[in-house]
């Protein structure tokens, strides 16, 4: 219990210490998870919208597959990516193992189904009508997509926030593909896991608090994009 309160104190000290290592860890976390969220959104938001308004054979199976992949354990995503990019793997020649790039790839795999699933769900409910209006007003394919994006922004926002939440908070995938190398691939969650495994609870909680505070700010920024209502 005491550790929780101490965690708050430590979090404060951590932030005002301006320790370079701490800030590097925070920045790398943000870089990796935000990039993964951004890359995923780039594919998933259009994919979710597409799924929501277009009918095709086996659509039901695809949708159920996506919902299922929402339950993909981060460790498995990490492991599969690791095996693909490892020295002996098919993409070994790229030399990606234990790099931030590998961490981004693994998190992207994890986040894609989440954003796709949530955006699909919102589109299914309102997408058809929006598409029709766009059509009647003479919008081309790209304009229709951008209108759908605008009108469905609340759902897109929820999808992205949920996806970001998954990315920033997961530890299994980045731990495996990144390796938690000090000064290079160590991020907030891997630090937390490490500190926890070393029994340094209050420091672990301190970093957790910092992580949550940062998420609060980031959600605020994302929230402003979907505003205007």
């Amino acid at each position: 219990m005491g550790e929780i309160w101490e965690g708050f104190k430590d979090a404060y000290n951590l932030l005002i210490s301006f320790d370079e290592e701490v800030y590097k860890i925070i920045l790398l976390s943000l870089y990796v998870s935000l990039t993964a969220t951004f890359v995923s959104s780039f594919f998933s938001v259009p994919a979710g919208i597409f799924l929501g308004i277009v009918d095709f054979k086996f659509k039901k199976v695809v949708v159920r597959g996506i919902y299922t992949l929402m339950s993909m354990p981060p460790v498995i995503a990490g492991l599969v990516v690791f095996l693909l990019i490892s020295r002996k793997g098919p993409f070994g020649f790229l030399g990606l193992s234990f790099t931030p790039a590998a961490m981004i790839i693994a998190q992207t795999c994890l986040v894609i189904p989440i954003i796709t699933g949530i955006v699909y769900n919102g589109t299914k409910q309102k997408g058809q009508r929006i598409k029709m209006v766009a059509k009647t007003l003479g919008a081309d394919k790209f304009q229709t997509l951008s209108l759908l994006l605008k009108e469905l922004r609340v759902n897109v926002f929820t999808g992205i926030v949920t996806g970001y939440g998954r990315a920033i908070s997961e530890v299994g995938a980045v731990m495996i593909v990144g390796g938690n190398i000090k000064g290079y691939t160590r991020v907030m969650t891997t630090s937390i896991a490490m500190l926890q495994s070393m029994g340094d609870y209050s420091m672990a909680i301190a970093i957790g608090i910092v992580l949550i505070m940062i998420s609060f700010v980031i959600n605020g920024i994302l929230y402003n994009f979907q505003q205007g209502e």
Partner: protein, 260 residues
């Protein structure tokens, strides 16, 4: 009241053992504990963590008994009153493992001298993966660097903050060196390309100890069970079992019992 009695019985019938990953991952506990449970009727719940965390769990009274390998920390633990008494149980040894082609030429020049080997790694600018997690192994490694007069820092030195198995895999992936306990290395040998390059130095001795957590921490601590476990594992039967463990598979025991 009858409920109190049953709850007491349940409490007596199980203990929490905090230990290092090496004892669990090597399969030793899977091999020993069913016998213990049959002998005493006490169920053992194994929580496998690093030595640092295991000691912390003891300090917090979250575990009843510890089986760890960092002798000086263990003695400090007992001295601070967190544990009752420390006993030697068994030992194995540490080894330096590395890629077959051995770029820093450890096997050639330092096959039984760990300090020299560390110097060679540093001089050859070969990659070294450190546990970096304050575990028993990590503490040992730090001591060697100190003795070698090297401050491990730079691109060649990767501090991973992970368990032994993970670190071995990392070393395997980047074709680097690492310090490992023999048991974990042997249990993973088939899956990796690393080989033992340095062994046999007295400094690489790895002693495991058992400690009962001081029952004054809280009333949930099952000291009776802990004592029974200590008595049992130090006893002849268990020591014999330890000696036999792994012989068939590795032709050598993974741990050598040395209880007095």
């Amino acid at each position: 009241a009858p409920t109190e009695e049953t709850s007491k019985e349940v409490k007596n019938s199980s203990i929490i053992l905090a230990t290092t990953t090496s004892t669990e991952n090597s399969g030793l506990l899977d091999y020993l504990l069913p016998v213990f449970e049959k002998d005493t009727g006490i169920k053992v719940k194994v929580v496998a963590v690093g030595t640092g965390k295991a000691l912390k769990m003891g300090e917090d009274g979250e575990a009843d008994v510890l089986l760890v390998h960092a002798k000086s920390s263990e003695e400090a633990f007992v001295k601070a009153g967190h544990g009752l008494e420390r006993f030697d149980v068994m030992y194995n040894d540490f080894v330096i493992i590395g890629p077959k082609n051995d770029p820093a030429k450890l096997y050639e020049n330092a096959s039984n001298d760990v300090i020299k080997a560390f110097k060679l790694i540093n001089k050859g600018n070969a990659k070294f993966v450190s546990r970096g997690d304050d575990s028993g192994t990590h503490k040992k490694e730090k001591k060697f660097w100190e003795e070698a007069g090297i401050e491990p820092k730079g691109d060649w030195y990767l501090s991973a903050g992970k368990g032994m198995g993970d670190v071995i895999q990392m070393a395997n992936e980047i074709e680097g060196y690492t310090l490992s306990d023999r048991a974990t290395y042997l249990s993973m040998k088939d899956k990796i390309d690393l080989e033992i390059l340095v062994e046999g130095d007295n400094k690489l001795f790895n002693q495991y100890g058992v400690i009962a957590v001081n029952p004054n921490k809280n009333e949930k601590i099952n000291n009776d069970g802990a004592q029974k476990f200590i008595d049992w594992i130090l006893g002849e039967k268990a020591q014999g079992l330890i000696k036999a463990f792994g012989k068939d598979k590795f032709s050598k025991p993974l741990f050598i019992p040395n209880a007095r």
